[in-house]
Assembly symmetry: C5
């Protein structure tokens, strides 16, 4: 698990509450004095976002949120490279069928499916089509998940403004008691705060994290796809290796070179 999303959110929340405490402001009186503010902004943003999506998207959004926060560790690039190189060498020397037992032990279902299809003698065109359809379907699912939170992040400040304007109008209609004006305005602004808060501390980081994780997963799958097809076509392990290594950073390339020489 990549803890950075939880760490980042804790930093954002911690520094906010820390700064408030330093200034002698009690976070509770700011955020929770008026529960109506939270209900209006959260209910509005979530309601409008649900209305903008399908039932399936709504159910899926809960799942991907966990994924964004837990941020599953990306597959180790070097390990995958070693594994694919091993497959390329075996396929070259002993033929594709020799990969049958190795295929069963692959963790990554995408890679396993591709190798299994190759071993089964599936036409390379079909292998490419099936794996590309899987990549596209994954991308569409990721996009729908990230889109759900982007929509929510877009609606939040708008509902915050709506609540503040409602509060302002109410206050302007009841100007007779000047001593109540300050607290009334404070309550009105609490919805603005919740709008900004939900968008920037919660929805936006989740949406962007999902997009980033998706980007990495798709890039990784595209690389694996090309390599499965190379292995099936019986390319030399050298060609497979050269492309894989080009994908690493200069630092990673050197580290790998050193390990090889050692």
């Amino acid at each position: 698990m990549d803890p950075i999303t939880i760490i980042g959110l804790l930093i954002a929340l911690g520094t906010t509450f820390g700064a408030m405490t330093m200034a002698g402001i009690d976070p509770m009186t700011i955020f929770f004095a008026d529960p109506g503010s939270i209900i209006l902004v959260f209910g509005g943003a979530v309601g409008a976002t649900l209305a903008s999506n399908t039932m399936e998207d709504a159910v899926g959004a809960g799942k991907v949120m966990v994924k964004a926060v837990a941020a599953p560790k990306q597959p180790d690039k070097e390990e995958t490279i070693q594994q694919l190189l091993g497959f390329a060498e075996t396929a070259r020397k002993e033929g594709l069928l020799a990969l049958e037992s190795a295929a069963k032990e692959i963790d990554d279902p995408f890679l396993r499916k591709g190798i299994e299809m190759s071993v089964d003698g599936t036409d390379p065109e079909i292998v490419r089509e099936v794996l590309e359809t899987e990549i596209e379907a994954t991308q569409a699912r990721h996009g729908a998940g990230a889109g759900f939170f982007t929509t929510a992040a877009g609606f939040s400040p708008a509902f915050g403004v709506a609540g503040t304007v409602i509060g302002l109008i109410d206050m302007l209609n009841n100007l007779s008691d000047p001593s109540a004006l300050g607290p009334a305005l404070a309550v009105a602004f609490a919805t603005t705060l919740w709008g900004v808060f939900l968008a920037n501390y919660i929805f936006q980081p989740i949406a962007q994290k999902l997009r980033r994780v998706s980007e990495l997963e798709i890039a990784y799958k595209e690389l694996v796809l090309e390599d499965i097809l190379s292995i099936q076509a019986g390319s030399s392990p050298r060609a497979v290796s050269d492309r894989l290594v080009a994908y690493l950073t200069a630092t990673q390339q050197e580290a790998m070179q050193e390990k090889k020489s050692a």
Copy 2:
């Protein structure tokens, strides 16, 4: 019917009115005290949106709004997969002509048209061209419908601001009666509220829902198109099945696997 859009809008409206009631604010005095606000914002946003479109778009916008709110259920993916697999098997064993009677019973007009053309012996290139033209035309119609509401959502806050500035100028010209200032300002802000309200509770969710429904419908049609062509070309049911299954989520794939084994 997918009830999520209605549920979502009810949540957004319900929490807003609930929060107002909790704070002792009468929603009627906020939203409906000044009918001119509603007329100005709604008339302005709808008028400017109509002016930005053609007569045909304006007529169509009414229809698609119903579609967005009612949100027709998406075709059941698993059912379609079973149906297409059945067609692929029949076509393989008994030839395309054997699909003639089955074709008449297909509910989905797009799929029916494709199968009928195949049965009629239409050239595959023409089948692809006709179905792709239909997909493009559907996409263009959906885009025009969603675009209508996106435009309306964009204009609403601008007309809200216009109304508020009009109210402010009027108030500043009549500062002589201080006791009237509060209510005058309240009326001025009511247009801001209606601008935010129309955009975020109504137009924006409809526009986004239409875009999402269109996205799903187009993706589904593109999948069906490829499969009709595979069936016409006499591909093995296995190849048709592999691509179809790749389109499902991992959970759906497992569920399907289990059903198959059972």
Copy 3:
């Protein structure tokens, strides 16, 4: 002529002035009390837009504005379909030369040019290239026209803000006479109002209408282009018809089917 743009603008203006009258606000005192506001915003927005374009764009912008407001009726799709089907049948039965006299009576210059080139025996590749160049040139001209008004809509609120800030600064420098503050602020906000007004009641609807009209015209020309090439290639009227019909909505398709049966 499609009257929707004029209707839409009249609705937007009418409801604005109606709402003002309802609230007892005289539109004249709001919009025209300070002619300097209009001059600053209109002059600034138009000047900056002219500066952003070439002399040719500036001259062209006047012409396309008339086009956007008058909104020339789109060619009748069904009529075009009938005409193209007739051409396809004639070309099939009697050869392309038989279209010579019919070609002269075509109203649409784009279609006429294409049919004439076909009748003249021009190489199909040249026909495609010439018609595609015409489509691209049309698209570029439309884009420049719509872009002119999009730019103007973008500049208007900025000049409105500039004027308001100028008014504010002047007022803050002359705070000695409190009774003059209200009217001074009112004048300052009049430029904000004009900025919002010009952008949303005028420039933005024109820009969006031009884009929409262009979109429809280009889609229509692309359809006609493909059909001219099909006719020249001697495709069966059935194939031409199938693609044309796919372009219609389901309702239009049924209506056409009924007419055919009748």
Copy 4:
């Protein structure tokens, strides 16, 4: 030289100063009372823009600014058409070598280079590649130039806001002398004004003009490129002419037709 950019900027500035004079506001006291405002906004916007670019971009930005304001006249389309038609006819009748002396007298270096390469017997693929590289390099240089001013236009209002907030904070810390508040606020708002001013009267028009001039130059070069290749391939002058004419507006096409008949 196309004077429209200078005319447009003069209109924008003239109407602004005119409107201020009409309202009895002295532009000098608004714009130049606080030189610090100008320094902060201009220095901030230019500094941040320089920091966002390379040294080469910074040097180039000065040159392209002159280009945007002076707006070099676009090549005369009709003249180019006549010239290219002449070349096509000569090449057809007397061979490409006959263009050798004519090539030396071509003003446009892009067209000259293309014709010279053709005369030299360069492989058509190389001619295309070299000219396309030149188009891409031109486009990249134009994009960098326009991007410089777009960046500056984006930074200006932000630095204007920064300056205003600095002024506000300073004023709020020194509330003891109420009579100084107005002028202090006026100075604070002067930076907002300069931010809006620099962005909308200067940087934005220059950026947009550069984009528009680039668009036209690239479209023209792409047309010339296709025609050079047609001439080299020995296409009929008719084909070259048809494509060239399709690029003109309907009005220009008629004007040309008339001249031809005359």
Copy 5:
């Protein structure tokens, strides 16, 4: 090293502090009077940005920041052209193997790798694929780096607003001591200032600089890639030269021509 980013940032900061000093405002009391403001905005923006990325991106962001500020000098175009021309001539006359010793002395690892693969007799398709994968991987790494700072620039003003609203609410809840209102508001606005400051003086310039440097590096690598393949294919040095020169500005082309003649 290209000093422009440091110069630009110094100009932006210098003019801001200069303008403040000119106006008799002590920068320290504005920026550092309330350390909580800095903590809230900086902690919030960095925390939310970290939460939006992976651990690897977070580590990489530090490195690329140094790169943006130090702005490594772009490779000298003319020198590269001379070098590539030399390679093309050698390859033509003495064969690819003659480049073996020269390849070892190439500084640029991308060019060296390409030449070495060519010398080793690697299949041109593999050379292209490996170098294109390297370009794509570089582009993805650059995009992630620039994206980190774009995200941070987007979050900064939002956290500035959040802090200001928190301050406002606190002040409105404690209106009893009017003399404390000014300083309380000043502290509230300090977070707005820091939000604008971090976004526009720091994060945005770094993000844009990274994008610009990446753009140049990718364009350069694409040019080198095409030339390596030309050299491997044994194209004439003339063809290699023509494309390379087309990439230079008119001024650079003339300068090079003169040097050649000299």
